[in-house]
Symmetry: C2
Subunit: 334 residues, 2 copies
């Protein structure tokens, strides 16, 4: 049996109320008493029972984080930074990997809520599905219980907060860089119709249009298969002609490198390639991958800071956009 507040009270010769006060830093305790109690607490290595505290406060100082898959490097990096930032505020977190379909996402968030977390952080705009009414209904419901922070997505609701990269602009600029470097047929690879994917596609299309290049539907390719299948698919699509590729993730971009290698094409000369997220993978592959950096760190920090303000009852902006920048490496020649 662990030592309880009763033990410490008895051993210090005071009431449990006083023990509670010194534990909680209540100033109305005489120095003498406080020291005595502190000494006893230390001697017996007393830690307040967190379950009892939670019951009182109706909070465990715990936030629920859900992401599709912690194996995804982007999400792992996000969780890693969120953790550090949350700890600064004395908060812990429960992680729940939901997988990629909307139903399991709903389920994951539901589980987290049952644990009475203080707030929710959802990593990835795919929690919004295609943003249709019935698909986001669960989020509106959940937001009645706790504040919900969506990283890379946004949904209008009094208790939902979005922190997003400027995906449209970033993709616009990246695409335009390719165009300015003389590329005319730019493949666009994406893996979902999430909010942020759609933003990226919009940026891509707008850049083409603004530069007088018609958008060719054939050059927009949705890829949901593995790396090698992606390569093979590109190899089979002999009808496709392209001198550059831009992808919504680094992993998809690497598929193009595999394709180039198989066709003995030179990168960046024959095909230029740009990825997204600036993951460590970008350095590992050869040639090293030019990629958009989405400032994961800023995003995570802003989200946690805002969440804390929110939990203190302060008024907080509902939408924050974080700037991205292009990290040039060896798969582009500008």
């Amino acid at each position: 049996m662990a030592v309880t507040i009763y033990d410490i009270a008895r051993l210090s010769g005071v009431s449990i109320a006083t023990i509670s006060r010194v534990v909680n830093g209540n100033p109305s305790v005489s120095d003498k008493t406080r020291e005595k109690v502190l000494a006893v607490m230390k001697e017996y290595d007393y830690t307040p029972n967190p379950f009892a505290r939670s019951l009182q406060f109706n909070s465990m100082k715990m936030v629920g984080i859900s992401c599709a898959d912690i194996k995804d490097d982007y999400m792992a990096r996000m969780v890693s930074i969120l953790e550090k930032k949350l700890h600064e505020y004395g908060y812990d977190y429960m992680l729940l990997c939901s997988g990629y379909d909307l139903e399991s996402r709903e389920h994951a968030v539901d589980l987290l809520l049952k644990k009475k977390v203080d707030a929710l952080i959802l990593i990835g705009s795919q929690f919004l599905g295609n943003c249709e009414k019935d698909e986001v209904a669960y989020l509106h419901r959940d937001a009645e219980q706790v504040p919900v922070f969506i990283l890379n997505g946004y949904l209008e609701n009094n208790n939902i907060y979005g922190v997003l990269g400027d995906d449209r602009n970033a993709m616009y600029n990246a695409t335009e860089s390719l165009i300015k470097a003389g590329r005319k047929k730019i493949l666009f690879l994406y893996d979902s119709e999430s909010y942020s994917s759609n933003q990226k596609m919009a940026g891509y299309e707008d850049a083409l249009r603004d530069n007088g290049i018609p958008v060719d539907g054939n050059l927009k390719l949705k890829i949901t298969c593995s790396l090698h299948e992606e390569r093979d698919l590109l190899l089979m699509r002999k009808d496709l002609e392209f001198d550059a590729a831009i992808a919504t993730t680094d992993e998809l971009a690497v598929g193009v490198l595999k394709y180039a290698k198989a066709r003995m094409l030179q990168v960046p000369k024959d095909i230029s390639v740009i990825g997204y997220n600036n993951s460590p993978l970008a350095d590992f592959v050869e040639p090293e991958l030019t990629s958009v950096d989405t400032s994961i760190k800023d995003m995570a920090h802003v989200a946690v800071d805002k969440m804390m303000e929110c939990l203190q009852g302060k008024n907080v902006e509902h939408k924050t956009v974080i700037e991205s920048r292009l990290v040039k490496r060896c798969t582009t020649d500008f």
Copy 2:
């Protein structure tokens, strides 16, 4: 205010004891009462307050997982599988990324314990430091409170359990494959002196010896820097001659590929390379990396299964070894 057991009792016209019984599946409730209560619970969307339950049971059904860094793909894969397995048993987890030094590891485990987790899972033998007495003292202390499961490490203690890959054998076999393929000067790259790193080194050395090749200390290289620094370091070490490299992680092995590329050496012809962990990275790089697969899945499953037996008071083996296998790709020619 959420609906409590008192509300449900009042609305169902029974006592809170009965509500508790149906919530907990106690059979001594009449069908009629049960149905009534269930209906009311459903109508009002009642969920028992987890804090109150925890206080009663002195458990949240929560295990603490600590790893050095969730951004590391190996650890992320491990956590991902642990999560699924834990959920099967109705357990959640708190994750704490400790960083790589021993002091922060102690601290991380301490925090987890303060939260009164039911058990501890530590990913990576580095939690053992160099296995010296004072370095593992904290683990012996922690094990007095909860069962401790070390993935990839082992420490003799009544309440500490190890689930490990057969790192020595795996490295022995991999090294021997290189030798049998005609390689004589095999570089060994490692990044720490952890228990499992040491096992790997032992396997490497034994394979050399058993095949009549003297161990050359110069060919054992500890690398703790970044990918590009590793490459540059190899480029600078003009004294080193090697026709193969074997590494304790895939990341380190990729450094050799970078080196080969810079020196215009052919892989696997001029240099053969073997990595460790069979991470997704092995497929991304070019040429694709031969790597040892350590059966993360088996390891995680065994750990959780054993932990559950342990929590049920059953007697459990303290050490389980999981077999590894070599996945041959394009950086070796056997």
